[in-house]
Amino acid sequence: MSTTMRQPRRSGIRRGEAASGWLFTAPMIVLLGVFLVIPVLMALWVSFSDWGGRGSPFSSTVNFIGLKNYSTLLSGGGLAEQDFGTALKNNAWYVIFVVPLQTVVALFLAVMVNRQILRGRGFFRTAFYFPSVTSSVAITVLWLFLFSSTGAVNKLLTYVGIAGPNWFNDPRGVLHFGATSGPGYLTGPTVLGVSLWDWVGGPSVAMVGYILLAIFTTSGTFMLLFIAALQNLGGDVQEAAMMDGANGWQRFWRVTLPQLRPTLFTVLTLGLIGCWQVFDQIYAGTQGSPGKTTLTPAFLSYQAAFKNQEWGQGAAIAFLLFVIIVAFTLLQRWVLAERKVSRRRMRMYNIPPSSGTGPGQGASVDGAVLLAARGVARDDR
């Protein structure tokens, strides 16, 4: 970059190249500006204003009210704070269950349908991907039927002797295990207007329905990403690991999975964002009931704006959600970052002193993958 800066202005045939570059990208820049950047900036302004939903948010009657919308949500002490806390609680549990499960299921399915020996791989790939291409509203309606109190799921459960819950009408938290009131040290203190007892209660039975729905629909999409990544992996590394005596299980954990790290990051990030923004299923399904246990920030934002005419609060919820998503993505990036092999780990790869070589002079860290494969081989002995 710095070298190009120092270069003199290009002349001759290359002159005007930058201008035409900008010309060609201009339509997209204008489109993105008009339909993305400006609306986002408008929403940001609305979140700091008392705009009531009539006319332009930039008209002279709209006032700047600072952080009032945010403080109502975060420390107002009223129903708005309580609803926001409830929505965050619900969505956090949703994320905690959906993101790991859908990733694991997607990876499992991808590894299965990627196996050479599997017959009819094309059929299975299509079958697993099918829920992803179906409209989420249609699947939600299907789910409401399947999980109704007399629906197919409960019918199946009765065959194994379980009286199924009234799924989408059951507000009980699954981690409360049927207890209706908790100990005083949990029911007393509140965070964002919601008691600790409710925070630790886990997703409600109704939310479990949505969790299953999300895993069912998105696993197929992410399976596709994993398949693409798996097909890109070279066979030579696998062979090297095999030569070193690693069995299938070890090859998967120590050779395949580390190589999938970038895809894993993509899948987790997309999953995290999608989960925090869950809206259409809630909108088409329970709309926050039963007992507000399926209320999510995205739906709350919609409700605050369009139903209650609290546009500032609705926009503020959207931006708080944005902050949450960015924070989680950064955290996850840090967790999944490539690190130098730790000293403890390094010791595993050293050749023991008895064989004549001094400590600390083991294998050079040239490729984490090969190294991992060697580690496997050593464990095997």
């Binding site: 190009t4 209706t180 209650n308 005419q309």
Partner: protein
């Protein structure tokens, strides 16, 4: 250098685009059409009517009524049935291009009135004094009567005649007090069905609160009255029925609403509004049932009423014509026609006699208008009601006093 200039350029271009977009958004805000002496705008523009329709019957009835008005008045008007009324209204108001006349639910009035979207035309209606006074209160915000009540519904008690006879009960046993209701509910509860099956929400359970002399807010929705002793009495009575197993929520019976539980024979009695007649006719045409007024509680008779109004937009360019259209749509003739087509009760007192003679079986609904109370309509009250609903979902174990205290706090915050 190579990079800096274009960057500056693109920033400028973006700013220009932004400014353009914003001015485009900003155009037409202060456009006001010619006013008249009454302060209403008038012009030659056609009217748009946005309705949240319950079905084809309603859409057709409104369309034909509006078409009649158009042909006599000479002002064109088109009726659109909204998919999502609240959302489409909000979009219209934000864009300054709202529908001229529209349905508006009682709990949405305060929100739109507060941001100035609504025209407060109530006092200019010729038939103003004909509306039921409690309905007018539903649409009064900050002392101004905003919009004309379109129609209304009240809650009454529906009884399954066959189950009633099977339990050895006669016409003389129709409950008029809480004790009697409890007694018949017990008799009607069998292993196959429950005595009383109702929707588990304020809009049904709240009737018991009014019979005890309470409600979440007063009829004007200017004062929070949630934690009154009367409300505790009302809910405690409902809780007692639930604990005795003679009252169950529709969802616990595996039904979506009270009418479904009633129609499927899961409940011998239910508490619903006059919309139940349409549902029964469509889904359970063979069910024999009768409609009675709700029993009186310690404070006498009480029920809840639900209503919508005809809103007129403050930004409408032709408010004079819109007002005339609303006067026509709320006239006795039109309201009785609507009632025949899709069931609601006329919002004007002068149509009561005709309506009763046309619907003898439904008289208890209209008689209830005399003692019906409004649901809270303060801005944000819908959220409090939702919160209340979520807390009474487990009526049997609910801590009634604590719930009502919490809602009192939430409602007080709204009317401060």
């Amino acid at each position: 250098m190579q990079r800096r200039t274009p960057r500056w350029l693109v920033a400028g271009a973006l700013a220009a685009v932004g400014a353009l977009a914003l001015t485009a958004c900003g155009s037409g805000f202060n456009s006001s059409s010619g006013g008249t002496s009454s302060g209403l705008t008038s012009s030659k523009k056609a009217l748009t009517v946005l309705i949240g329709s319950s079905g084809d019957a309603e859409t057709a009835a409104v369309k034909s009524a509006v078409a009649d008005w158009s042909s006599t008045s000479g002002t064109k008007a088109t009726v659109t049935a909204a998919n999502n009324l609240a959302q489409q209204l909000s979009q219209g108001f934000a864009a300054n291009k709202p529908a001229d006349v529209f349905y508006l639910s009682a709990d949405a009035v305060a929100g739109y009135a507060a941001n100035g979207s609504l025209l407060a035309y109530g006092d200019q209606l010729k038939n103003k004094s004909d509306f039921y006074p409690t309905l007018v209160k539903s649409f009064t915000y900050n002392g101004k009567f905003y919009c004309a009540p379109k129609d209304f519904s009240t809650l009454a008690l529906e009884i399954n005649d066959d189950m009633w006879k099977a339990a050895g009960l006669t016409d003389a046993d129709v409950p008029t007090t809480w004790d009697q209701l409890e007694a018949v509910a017990k008799k009607l509860t069998t292993s196959k069905h429950v005595g009383l099956g109702i929707g588990g929400e304020y809009a049904r359970v709240g009737a018991f609160m009014t019979q005890a002399g309470g409600n979440l807010m007063n009829d004007d929705s200017t004062k929070a009255t949630a934690n009154s002793a009367a409300n505790v009495t009302g809910l405690t009575y409902a809780q007692k029925l639930a604990k005795d197993g003679v009252l169950k929520y529709a969802k616990d019976l595996g039904a979506g609403w009270g009418g479904e539980a009633f129609g499927k024979g899961l409940a011998a009695m239910t508490i619903e509004g006059n919309w139940i007649t349409g549902g029964m006719q469509a889904d359970y045409p063979n069910l024999k049932y009768s409609i009675h007024e709700l029993p009186a509680g310690p404070a006498g008779k009480g029920t809840l009423q639900f209503t919508n109004c005809w809103g007129i937009a403050a930004d409408s360019p032709n408010q004079t014509a819109a007002l005339k259209l609303v006067e026509k749509l709320t006239s006795a003739g039109d309201q009785l026609a609507f009632s025949k087509a899709f069931g609601p009760m006329p919002s004007i007192q002068s149509a009561a006699g005709d309506w009763k003679s046309a619907n003898p079986a439904l008289v208890p609904f209209l008689d209830a208008a005399a003692y019906a109370h409004n649901v809270p309509t303060a801005k944000g009250a819908a959220d409090v009601v939702t919160d209340f609903n979520s807390k009474i979902e487990n009526l049997k174990t609910a801590d009634i006093k604590a719930i009502l205290d919490a809602e009192q706090k939430n409602l007080e915050a709204l009317v401060k």
